[in-house]
């Protein structure tokens, strides 16, 4: 009798768990954040390493041509913006999450939960906005049963993943100072870490950590030194430093062993007219490592000292271990917007490789720290300076990918030119004080050998213009990318040969993800306002 009762209870519990899984009500086990993504895609990057790499192999180079469309979902924010705020772009730039069979996707002011097997909408959350740039939302984060997302009007919102109801919201920046929110938060232990955006006025960047349960602020780290620090000497004055920009609008990575949190910082302010901020302007356009429990700086490496071209170094600092001169090292690699590829020792930030991944014309070599030395002649000029890359950069925000199988770093690169001018001739420019104009560019998908920084293979995209699509590599010997002609393409990551493609109604606007449910591997991409999901379905 006792055995029968236990059996029945076990069945009931099992059915409840199954039901929860099917309805997407099962919370995210934090242990999943420390694993490679298989049955889930639980973070913006898939895992803490930022590789945008999947160990799944059911879709592979030998069968990828059998992929078919599984379902399509169109994100419809409704009639205009949510509330009285800014216009909402319906373009999906964020990388969706997939947790326990439910996909969570975002655009500014909106979050949707969608059945990851069928594309059926489960709930839609809409935020009444008070303004801010609605240029894009990079995605959400989930811890247990709560989803966290930033809004353009400077709020961090916590939603119940069961029904999309708000649990709390906290102001993370000052809309009145022209900050805005766009970043995908990162969960590290009991920290929800967020970055901020905004470069219309001269305001300082920072990252800050919030309590997952209450939303209370735990710590904040500004992207400038404290007055009196040795690094403060890279600014002409405390006032210039405290208004020196360095927004934190890119994705972050985390090494649990070292307990270090990595991200890149954005452009210094004023953006173009840099006459009033002579010096290297730390910690702008730098790769930095923080202790995620305290927000204390561990080390920094500056990708673009004293930049005047808007080349944010916010691209993903990808983590992997590799051999350098026969020695196993903990590495960090970034293909930066300024056209340079860097490999660092992520334990201490020491430089190992610095090289151009596209030809540029703004640097005079590298210094002893491996940092490019800017050529003053290629700073913006009143009558113009022809500069490569352009403001869009050698790369931009779309994520690159690193495959531990091939040892190659993949990036959708642009080779571009434009003319940079400064307009503000005062001794103390503010805001932008200039801009670049015009330009010509060409795009190519590159595979970079991290040991040397040399391009092993390059696929030139047809026509002119850079490409804005993220990348995904998999253990199935595949690399997925999008072109400017609305194609989703599978490459052989070893040699760049094309294996498969599918045409969509718009060009890929985010980064592919993949996951396996019920024995079926799905491939998911966003194109404009639409999610396309591919799989090999038996019937």
């Amino acid at each position: 009798m006792k055995t029968t009762a236990l059996f029945i209870i076990a069945i009931v519990i099992g059915l409840l768990l199954l039901n929860a899984a099917l309805l997407g009500q099962a919370p995210l086990d934090p242990a999943k954040l420390l694993q490679l993504p298989t049955d889930m895609w639980p973070t913006y990057n898939g895992d803490y390493s930022g590789r945008h790499f999947s160990p799944l192999t059911k879709i592979n180079s030998s069968n990828v041509s059998s992929l078919t469309l599984a379902w399509v979902y169109r994100a419809n924010p409704g009639n205009g913006p949510a509330g009285g705020g800014g216009a909402t772009s319906a373009q999906i730039k964020g990388t969706p999450l997939q947790i326990n069979g439910v996909m969570y996707l975002t655009i500014p002011d909106h979050v949707w939960a969608v059945d990851a097997r069928s594309g059926r909408e489960l709930w839609h959350f809409s935020w009444r906005s008070k303004g801010g740039w609605h240029i894009g939302n990079r995605g959400a984060a989930v811890l247990r049963d709560t989803l966290y997302v930033e809004t353009p009007d400077c709020n961090l919102i916590a939603l119940n993943i069961k029904d999309g109801k708000e649990r709390w919201h906290k102001e993370i920046c000052d809309l009145e100072q022209f900050y805005y929110g766009s970043v995908a938060p990162t969960i590290v232990k009991n920290h929800v870490i967020v970055g901020v955006s905004g470069d219309d006025l001269d305001i300082p960047g920072y990252v800050e950590s919030h309590d997952p349960e209450t939303g209370e602020l735990q710590w904040r780290w500004y992207t400038h030194p404290n007055p009196g620090d040795p690094e403060a000497k890279t600014w002409p004055s405390v006032e210039a430093m405290m208004h020196g920009g360095g927004m934190t609008w890119g994705p972050s990575t985390y090494d649990p062993e070292l307990n270090l949190y990595y991200f890149g910082t954005g452009n210094p302010q004023p953006v173009i007219a840099g006459r009033g901020r002579v010096g290297d302007n730390l910690y702008t356009e730098s790769i930095v490592a923080l202790n995620p429990d305290t927000g204390k700086l561990a080390w920094y490496f500056q990708a673009s000292p004293h930049d005047t071209h808007d080349w944010d170094a916010i691209e993903i600092p990808i983590l992997f271990d590799g051999e350098i001169n026969g020695v196993r090292r903990k590495l960090l690699a970034q293909a930066s917007r300024n056209g340079w590829f860097f490999v660092l020792d992520r334990t201490n930030g020491k430089n190992i490789v610095s090289t151009e991944f596209v030809k540029t014309n703004w640097a005079r070599g590298v210094d002893a720290k491996g940092q490019p030395i800017p050529d003053p002649k290629k700073e913006p000029q009143f009558d113009g300076a022809l500069v490569s890359p352009n403001q869009g950069g050698g790369v931009n925000w779309p994520p690159p990918s690193f495959s531990p199988d091939t040892g190659l770093f993949y990036v959708n690169a642009s080779r571009a030119f434009s003319v940079y001018y400064f307009y503000d001739t005062e001794d103390k420019p503010e805001g932008w004080g200039g801009n670049d104009r015009g330009g010509w560019s060409e795009g190519m998908l590159e595979a970079i050998d991290y040991k040397t920084g040399k391009v092993k293979w390059s696929h030139k995209w047809e026509g002119s213009g850079g490409i804005r699509s993220g990348l995904l590599s998999t253990a199935g010997n595949l690399l997925f990318a999008g072109d400017n002609a609305s194609n989703l393409i599978a490459f052989n990551p070893k040699d760049g040969s094309i294996l498969w493609h599918a045409g969509m109604h718009a060009s890929l606007s985010n980064t592919p993800i993949t996951y396996e449910l019920d024995g079926t591997q799905y491939l998911v991409v966003g194109a404009g306002d639409t999610i396309y999901t591919f799989a090999m379905l038996a019937k």
Partner: protein, 255 residues
């Protein structure tokens, strides 16, 4: 009351206009006449400490970067702030404070949008003769262009900054040219036409008869695209900034 209503309508109107821009949607609508009066108030009471450009000085902070000013609406914050702060005027009328608020917000709006300019910079800093030498020599421009042919009078048709942009970054459409493509299918005859679209998988052209044709690309299909601007793109790696300025000056002289 009607005054407040008008202000409210003004704020609402500008909010709609500013939707999607930086900063809060509830912005202060700048009354330019009031801002002009506010400039006079500023000159009388504020300029000595906060500077002629509102960016601060030795005795006063930058007011464009002031959080108090950024949060102010119609003088509601800066009025009380001035009353509290030492060395600030205490006897400004409500109208003067309002005018001052419009002036300061006008400066903020101008700064936040100064990546754009209605006054292009002067790019005529080069040397005409050096530009002509480059045109006929190292640049090989004269192999395709002529100052008495296609470029005759170009200096009267384009502004200097547009001259600079157009010679550096010409476009097929703007130049009245087309990109020609020849597709040779396996075992078939070559077909030439104007390129309409190309990617890694298909190439589309419009042939001489006006017919639109698309070919699936493959290892057995030869595709030859002839970009008429290829020489311009290659030159981008070779121009010095001095070359660029000299060419602009020379082109501008072709009246």
């Amino acid at each position: 009351m009607r005054y407040l209503l008008a202000i409210s309508i003004g704020i609402t109107a500008v909010s709609a206009y500013l939707a999607g821009q930086a900063g809060p949607s509830q912005r202060q609508a700048i009354d330019n006449a009031a801002a002009t009066r506010g400039r006079a108030v500023y000159a009388q009471y504020c300029i000595n400490c906060h500077g002629s450009n509102v960016k601060g000085g030795e005795n006063g902070p930058d007011l464009i970067r002031s959080v108090v000013v950024l949060r102010d609406r119609l003088g509601a914050d800066i009025g009380p702030a001035m009353k509290k702060l030492d060395g600030h005027p205490k006897d400004l009328t409500q109208a003067q404070v309002l005018d001052l608020s419009h002036f300061l917000h006008q400066r903020i709006e101008a700064t936040s949008s100064n990546r754009n300019t209605n006054q292009p910079p002067n790019v005529l800093t080069g040397n005409v003769d050096a530009g002509k030498t480059y045109f006929n020599g190292a640049g090989k421009c004269s192999s395709c262009h002529s100052p008495t042919g296609d470029l005759a009078g170009i200096g009267t048709r384009l502004t200097p900054i547009n001259l600079q942009q157009r010679f550096l970054f010409p476009t097929v459409a703007r130049g009245g040219k087309t990109t020609e493509v020849t597709v040779t299918p396996s075992g078939g005859k070559a077909i030439t036409g104007t390129l309409v679209r190309i990617d890694d998988f298909n190439v589309s052209l419009r042939d001489a008869s006006g017919e639109y044709q698309t070919f699936r690309r493959g290892t057995n299909v030869k595709v030859d695209v002839r970009d008429p601007l290829a020489a311009h793109h290659e030159l981008l790696d070779h121009y010095t900034d001095t070359d660029m300025h000299n060419i602009v000056r020379y082109l501008e002289s072709l009246k």
